[in-house]
Symmetry: C2
Subunit: 335 residues, 2 copies
DNA sequence: TTGAAAGCGCTACCAA
DNA sequence: TTGGTAGCGCTTTCAA
């Protein structure tokens, strides 16, 4: 920066002002800009952060980047935060709460302005780190009973119940559920819980649950789970799956077994992934606006930052609100 | 840090050493650690970076986080770099070279130790920024003719040619190609180029190419492209697709049209995505080790950093080597 | 509108 | 093994 200042014949302070875009005479500004371009100067963000006491980072933690659900959410966050000059610091927890804590600690070292986490469950260490840091936090994809700050999500249990009701309305009675195996995937467990509640409520008899393998749930979970379900309960007339991924795997397995979908057995998914719209048959599913969760989270984060800047009295508690995201059953061919 | 030092009854320097893990007497170390825990102290990475002149960041740019290809590569990079204490700074270029340049500039402000880019094509501004920064660079997923530093990838054209040869061996002659529409997706264009070369080489007559819509190629591109292909060349006996995504869409469309795969028409994909293994029929494809590209890139980056530390004479040129990643045709049911 | 000085929190370096 | 000092490259604050 000294070099730039010398070349432009101004002080470092003026260069700093040009970079920040604040009150500099147009002529001076242009001279400085020319010097910057000529030298290929790139300002050091670490020095700026240290000096000003505020970084330009926003931290985001998702369980998996490979899931289109979460990568859509990250895109939404990017869309909301990047125009405000925030740089995303993205971390992949791999559905591991210990790893989440390590990542939170590591990200906190960079003094992020705000942080977005996935889910309502975290280690006590994570909560403590976050609380101590004083950084605005938004939890996504769930509606925690005791949120750290704010939350943007929906009730996975309610969504699953809605799907059961949809299937019942369509005349299905012997409904199975594939998924919810892993303690790590709380959202999957919530969906299972919703299924169990509604099966009881509707008096559909004994629940028919096949718990699949590890998170994240992938397409390949679907086939063996369907086989297991039909082995134990051969008269099952509909299956709902914890995710469109496993629903797809199940449908392909039906095809291999010579079962028609939904003629012999109906199959429903969750998430409205691309495969649900493209598969033949198209897959009935729950649509959730993953991208919207990202943008809404971004907005909540920005609001918290604005509150911080504005009223010094704006307490953490005042920002503690939940944004409920809509979901809906998308009726397609498979159920 | 002063607070921690005071509480532990040592100097700041000793606290710094405990954090860095270097020569401190066990008793002192423990005392300091207790103080750290008690105060919930989290070191400021920006100050450390400024002081030491080196950050703990490794920058990564991929065209899209939603593609499992690239998210696998990011996982591989994480696996290689995180154990070395490097924190990934992940950016999503959205297949936009201008955006890539902006992201590179923005990341360079954080003084990353090294940077991984996707593809061989970049704006001249990007190249200049990178060259000037002096940071080790690895380009992934391609083998550039004039790499910036090092590269880890494969020839997408050669891979496509191998697929054409495979189809010819299987007796197909009237082979179409779906994809390669967007100038933005250089790897898709390379695959198209390989198809065209091999079709000529094998004397298969007029090429049958349907260029699909925008990047990234998704499942929904497959159906309309297949329709267009069969409309223009109804006697086509095999289709190769620029990606498993579109291959899947094409196969589902065949099903809707009552065409059996591969009986009436063979379909091949590219990338060995999960859907290729789970679809019925399973999809013949080109397998590329996306995760391995990530780990190999990470290793190349670490080697460059080690060289930097070691011999001061280690020039940029000395690191300029390409790592060739293997690919292979996975023969499955669809072709 | 511009400049000068102080200092952010840490680590490199040298000394004890 | 430990401590003191200097300074990293910026922004804040105040003065001109």
């Amino acid at each position: 920066m000294s070099d730039v200042a010398a070349l432009a014949g101004v002080s470092k302070m003026t260069v700093s002002r040009v970079l920040a875009g604040s009150g500099v005479a147009p002529a001076t500004r242009e001279r400085v800009q020319r010097a910057i371009d000529e030298l290929g100067y790139v300002a050091d963000a670490a020095a700026g952060a240290l000096s000003s006491g505020r970084s330009a980072f926003a931290a985001v933690l998702v369980p998996s980047l490979a899931s289109s659900n979460f990568s859509d959410t990250v895109r939404g966050l990017t869309a909301a935060l990047e125009p405000q000059g925030l740089q995303l610091l993205i971390g992949d927890t791999d559905y591991d709460l210990e790893r989440e804590e390590r990542l939170v600690r590591s990200m906190l070292r960079h003094q992020p302005r705000c942080i977005a986490l996935t889910g309502a469950q975290h280690t006590s260490g994570t909560r403590e780190l976050l609380l101590r840091s004083g950084v605005p936090v938004v939890e996504m994809w769930d509606l925690p009973t005791s949120p750290i700050d704010a939350a943007v999500g929906f009730s996975n249990a309610k969504a699953a119940r809605e799907m059961v009701r949809y299937l019942v309305e369509r005349g299905y009675r012997r409904i199975g559920f594939l998924g919810g195996a892993s303690e790590l995937d709380r959202r999957g467990l919530e969906r299972l819980k919703g299924y169990l509640q509604e099966v009881k409520m509707q008096g559909l008899g004994e629940p028919r649950v096949v718990r699949l393998g590890e998170s994240p749930i992938t397409m390949s979970h679907g086939a063996p789970a369907l086989d297991a379900l039909l082995h134990q309960w051969p008269d099952t007339d509909a299956v709902m799956c914890v995710s469109d991924m496993s629903a797809f795997g199940a449908i392909m397995q039906c095809r291999r077994r010579g079962l028609s979908v939904p003629g012999d057995i109906a199959v429903a998914g969750f998430g409205n992934f691309e495969v649900a719209a493209c598969c033949a048959p198209t897959i009935t599913t729950i649509s959730v606006d993953a991208y919207g969760i990202g943008t809404r989270t971004g907005e909540a984060l920005l609001a918290a930052l604005a509150a911080q800047d504005g009223a010094a009295g704006a307490t953490r508690a005042s920002a503690r609100k939940s944004v409920k995201i809509d979901f809906s059953v998308i009726a397609r061919e498979s159920a």
